[in-house]
Symmetry: C2
Subunit: 186 residues, 2 copies
DNA sequence: CAGCGAACAGACAGGTCTGTCTGGTGTCAA
DNA sequence: TTGACACCAGACAGACCTGTCTGTTCGCTG
């Protein structure tokens, strides 16, 4: 009884995978579980993504895409580059709060995939590079010659707040992070 | 042919577990592999640690103990509190370099064990709390009333450098981190 | 209305995981 | 010398993993 239109299975699998992989960890979740949660058969899952690795990469790409949309929203909502930087910190904090403080999905994936040559790690590098570029581009307006170094520093603070929030089980580190970011950006 | 003295098995297992768990990830390494690498039977492993979870906790406790020794060495080698803080950053960087940029074992374990109530997570919290306390204690000498906030900030920078080094596949982020730390501690 | 593609249902293979159990072997201490 | 103890060697159970396969059913398109 295929009560859904063809082509929907991929999206449903991706949504279920996103929830389960993020919440429980990638290695800890089997494809059977993902398929069941998505209300889809394993055959449909493999037909859409080829393998579990393929699904994992798709999961991270989708997260990156969503984050990119968030960045676009920030850019549209704030004209001042310094406000945009602040909004990045706020958004990061809001994401972590919404998702129950399990930290950055990309850093978690990095912990689970030790091989730097793994496609998963390439998606992570792409994501982090894009974030760094965005920060640097914003900082170029106010501090042209310090933009690169400042972006490096803000990335450290941002990542530090993300992982520390998990250990601390709460967003308190973001108060520190935002204060520090304000100090640095002047 | 028991060619080693009784009581050695536990230490050999712990050493093998430390190498394998850190390098490949905890979930990715089976107890058979650990026992084989240690040159010990599975029965001996279970006799010493009770379960894989028990072994994982022992592995992290051992890492914490080694780190504590490092802290003691730093304290003995430097009388100036500010030098001690700098030495913590250097030591962190050296550990990561030695271990092939797989990051902080405690943060990696946090990624693999989502449940905050898990004994593994308690060891992680203990470790991070101890480090924060040490930094705060040192900072109290030079900046009594800012010690707490400064320790918070340095922790963010330190953790940020640790995870960013993994993504970047090199210790470059520690240059940024140490520069930032020097700026903050004045 | 005919046919094709996509999903369904569910069994199946082959491997790995944690954890246990039996029986043999070596060492040390009483 | 005897007995306790820690370990070795390796089989075993039961669960779970990824990935494949057969056959069926639905909806869309030509």
């Amino acid at each position: 009884m295929g009560r859904t239109r063809p082509g929907d299975a991929g999206a449903k699998v991706l949504k279920a995978a996103s929830t389960l992989f993020y919440r429980d960890g990638i290695h800890a979740v089997g494809v059977d579980t993902v398929a069941a949660e998505a209300g889809v058969t394993k055959a449909a899952l493999y037909g859409n993504f080829g393998s579990k690795s393929g699904l994992v990469v798709a999961y991270l790409r989708e997260r990156d895409r969503q984050w990119q949309e968030e960045i676009d929203r920030i850019t549209a909502a704030h004209a001042d580059p310094r406000e945009r930087v602040a909004a990045v910190f706020d958004t990061y904090e809001a994401w972590l709060s919404r998702d129950g403080y399990r930290g950055c999905a990309f850093l978690n994936a990095t912990s689970e995939f030790p091989d730097p040559a793994d496609p998963v790690r390439e998606v992570v590098r792409h994501h982090k590079t894009a974030l760094h570029s965005y920060l640097r581009a914003q900082l170029r307006h106010s501090e042209p010659e310090r933009a690169e170094a400042l972006a490096d520093e803000l990335m450290l603070v941002l990542e530090g707040a993300a992982v520390t929030s998990v250990v601390a089980q709460g967003p308190q580190p973001f108060h520190t992070a935002k204060r520090l970011a304000r100090t640095l950006t002047g």
